[in-house]
Symmetry: C2
Subunit: 532 residues, 2 copies
């Protein structure tokens, strides 16, 4: 008997099998649905008798764009006492719900960074006991469509961002419910990261748990604000450069050869050969300069195959890169970069105070400080400051991460600022394409920019002369033949130029003091994480 | 003896070898330079006797930011008769040079999309015969620093974009010269692509030759204009969406699993495992919607491992993608996309007339036409139009590229427009995540947008219900287990939503009728091209 069945199953064609499975699935679903509907009806009727509010609540059918009545939808953020007694229609998430009595329930409704209180109370024609019960039974994070009236609140509602009005619900419809349990509550995910934790009282959500369930994690008001600020940084960067005569370019991420440093490049199978993912748009930006673009910028992904598992490294991040011709001196570039960053800081502070405050509730945001005249130290002056503070000079051929932070603290203590520049790095610390200083061949025309003691921008004047470039490559043991296309780009005449590259996520992390770069990336990638 | 020498060489340490090579190179360079300088001096003196203009011209030393006199530089584009007799200082390329007599030479100076004539004429103290000769001897495409006086031109200078003034040169300095010959002249690279070619008279430059020498090719005024327009499209897209409440996101291009269709995805070595390059931000955009972002867009690279060698396929291109929640009907999305595209067309036409005209000199640009009320056909209506025109209905299960173009011609003939929409595509032509039509399960809530008979945008309402999504996946033979993370994203409640994706290069190519998408990409990538 078993044999026969197995043979029979195997005897079916693949498509017939699929069809069969589909039909079974369909029948099962139908039966399940009917049972659920019946159960719900029985419960209701047993409890309350026929429901006079039945037409005012329930689960909506799957939204397939069935109709278009063109009714206005309202944003929670726009509501205040001035809207008192207005009728509103809105879609929102249920952040929390609470059954006050068997006649009244409260919902906290959320849209992005805002919440408002909704009250649903039994009356004799619109809202029934069954409706109140159903409303309170909806899972947190359900999406609902709410009809209601704006009502001035007698006292400030502390639990909501809109604190002077609430919504008196007249209809409530479930747009999308949940299947299964939330991995963590948004309340837990929103707790202060800096307030002392009282044991047993509540729990914080670990970063890994958040990132494994990033879709839920991103819904917190904090994360909504963080990514509005990420968008703002990009816009401020772009506006500043557009106003300064720059052209936005898009350079290919697929490269024919491993450039700059082969060890940290991802290899891609490319038809019958190989390609490599660009570690930066450095070469493309410079080629655009050789092609007369004069001033270019690019906002795009940058790939680093470094097995670094630190708080500030990602394998894919967004580079804000620019390159420009130099007329007289590379400080033209340094000053433009400085002006751009200060414009970003100022723009965030002035136009995004609300979002910064939202993030500040979860992360201790010491206000980010800078001054109009940016402090610029030479590398030597920076080293001297560290030596004065007790660091051994012989460990200061380079300034490592630890000493960078120490320097940040020294500058903060001395000047009360979180932003400064170091100029004139030693030749041996910079890539082969960096222009040496005209007076001291051990130094270069290069700079790094720092926020809260961490590097966020690196840049320099580049070598635009092909012969000199080849010489410098050989001195750094890079074979000019391996980068022939790049060098050839300069043989047909290239103007003097310089530029810099910024990590978007680093600027965001350091401005807000998020302490881990993964919090500043929508779906972060590191050596151990490729999902979601 | 040979043995000894070889041993000796091999016996040196690597760094000593490098040092030796460096010293030899240095000595060689020094000798070479001295010889050149001497030769030049001899030539000069033999010809003309001592040169009273010697301090007014020559090759500048390598620009290493030696000084910063803060002298104002002038943009050619800003000059006109109003600047008559002003002294100017500017850096430009020599587009062409012509020795008129042994007392006078003309240079055509170029900055991006503009050219101006410069005259260098012997006088008795500033400009010598040697200086004129030297000026005329500079290679085309050399970069020079010019001091001079703006002089009103007695007649219109037809060969230059600035036609009412020229520059009388007083000093001329070579900033960067050329090593070797240009692969083609910019004059040849700028010839009309549509005017009939007279045999033997002049040659056009083939696309492959251009792309192999893209840095030179990009310098043409046409290409400078094309990439200003590419930048403009991105800015107009972004501004429109920023004004409509969208948040810009950056989603990872490195994916843990091959999504959508495994056959056309690039595989990347990722530490000890594999990753895949995102074929679109589709899944990430939808996850952002499930994470409450409400309205998102992304501008970023999209990778397609398709071995398509056509005029309109690239393996890497820039996607302009957006996704938004739907309140009542997916036409909200279609209308927003339509409004966005019309704003782009209008913005280009109104604000970039100059650049469009520059491109028009090389490519026959039939003016791109659209109307305020966009023509929208259903898929069925589009098929009917083709059938009326004589296409066999049974070949119209899908509308192939050839029939798309035919449809474009039909619409152009009937309505005199180059832009229209097709709505309601059959289910079998769309991906599994497309929402079916509520009334006809063989159709979907999906649309394509067309420019000059070619598709530039594809989009739809998406399925936001996880169970229904799994069912549709199985119906299209996609294993839901293979995309678990994606589906799980919808289990915690996702609002109804839709969106679309645009190819930036396609919009640019079709608006300007460039006929090949490679012309709309800075450094194009196709199955056969990974360089430069």
């Amino acid at each position: 008997m078993t044999d026969v069945v197995e043979q029979g199953e195997e005897g079916l064609t693949k498509s017939a099998l699929k069809k069969k499975a589909k039909e079974e699935e369909k029948a099962r679903k139908k039966a399940e649905k009917a049972a659920k509907v019946k159960e719900a009806e029985q419960v209701r009727e047993a409890a309350e008798g026929p429901d006079y509010a039945a037409a005012h609540y329930g689960k909506l059918p799957l939204h397939q764009s069935q109709s278009r009545p063109n009714r206005k939808r309202t944003d929670i953020a726009t509501l205040s006492a001035k809207n008192d007694s207005e009728h509103v229609l809105l879609r929102a998430r249920i952040q929390t719900s609470r059954l006050q009595s068997n006649k009244m329930a409260f919902l906290s409704l959320r849209q992005r960074t805002d919440t408002i209180q909704a009250m649903i109370a039994v009356d004799d024609k619109q809202v029934s006991r069954q409706m109140v019960k159903w409303a309170a039974s909806l899972s947190d994070e359900s999406i609902v469509l709410v009809h209601g009236t704006v009502v001035k609140s007698p006292e400030s509602i502390k639990s909501c961002s809109i604190d002077d009005v609430e919504i008196q619900v007249s209809e409530l419809w479930l747009v999308a419910g949940l299947e299964g349990r939330l991995p963590f509550s948004l309340e837990d995910a929103s707790r202060s990261e800096t307030a002392p934790e009282v044991e047993g009282q509540f729990s914080r959500v670990l970063l890994d748990t958040r990132l494994n369930n990033r879709i839920i994690d991103l819904r917190t008001q904090t994360n909504q604000a963080i990514f509005k600020l990420q968008h703002a940084i990009g816009d401020l960067f772009r506006d500043y450069l557009n106003n300064n005569g720059f052209t936005e370019i898009h350079s290919p991420k697929l490269q024919g050869a491993a450039t700059e440093s082969g060890a940290t490049v991802f290899k891609v199978g490319y038809f019958k050969g190989d390609a490599f993912l660009a570690q930066s748009p450095q070469l493309a930006k410079q080629m655009a300069i050789a092609a007369d673009f004069e001033r270019v910028y690019e906002i795009g992904p940058v790939f680093r195959a470094e097995d670094s598992n630190t708080h500030r490294h990602l394998t894919e991040f967004i580079g804000l890169d620019l390159e420009m011709t130099i007329e007289e001196h590379y400080h033209e570039v340094k000053e433009l970069l400085d002006g751009m960053l200060k414009t970003i800081f100022k723009g965030l502070k002035e136009r995004y105070a609300k979002e910064i405050a939202v993030v500040g509730k979860q992360f201790e945001v010491e206000e980010f400080k800078w001054r109009e005249e940016t402090l610029t130290l030479t590398f030597r002056e920076a080293v001297d400051l560290l030596v004065e503070d007790g660091v051994d000079r012989e460990h200061l051929d380079d300034i490592n991460t630890e000493n960078e932070k120490r320097l940040g603290r020294l500058v903060k203590a001395k000047y009360d600022i979180d932003y400064f520049i170091i100029d004139k790095f030693p030749l041996e610390l910079r890539p082969f394409y960096t222009m040496p200083d005209p007076n001291d061949p051990t130094l270069t025309n290069s700079y790094d920019f720092f926020m809260r003691g961490e590097e966020i921008l690196s840049g320099a004047q580049r070598i635009h002369d092909p012969e000199f470039l080849c010489r410098q490559m050989r001195a750094k043991s890079v074979d000019p033949e391996s980068m022939k296309g790049y060098i050839d780009g300069f043989r047909m005449g290239c103007p003097p130029h310089g530029g810099g590259g910024i990590g978007l996520e680093r600027v965001l992390m350091l401005f807000l003091k998020l302490n881990n770069i993964r919090r500043a990336s929508l779906f972060p990638r590191d050596p151990k994480r490729l999902e979601p």
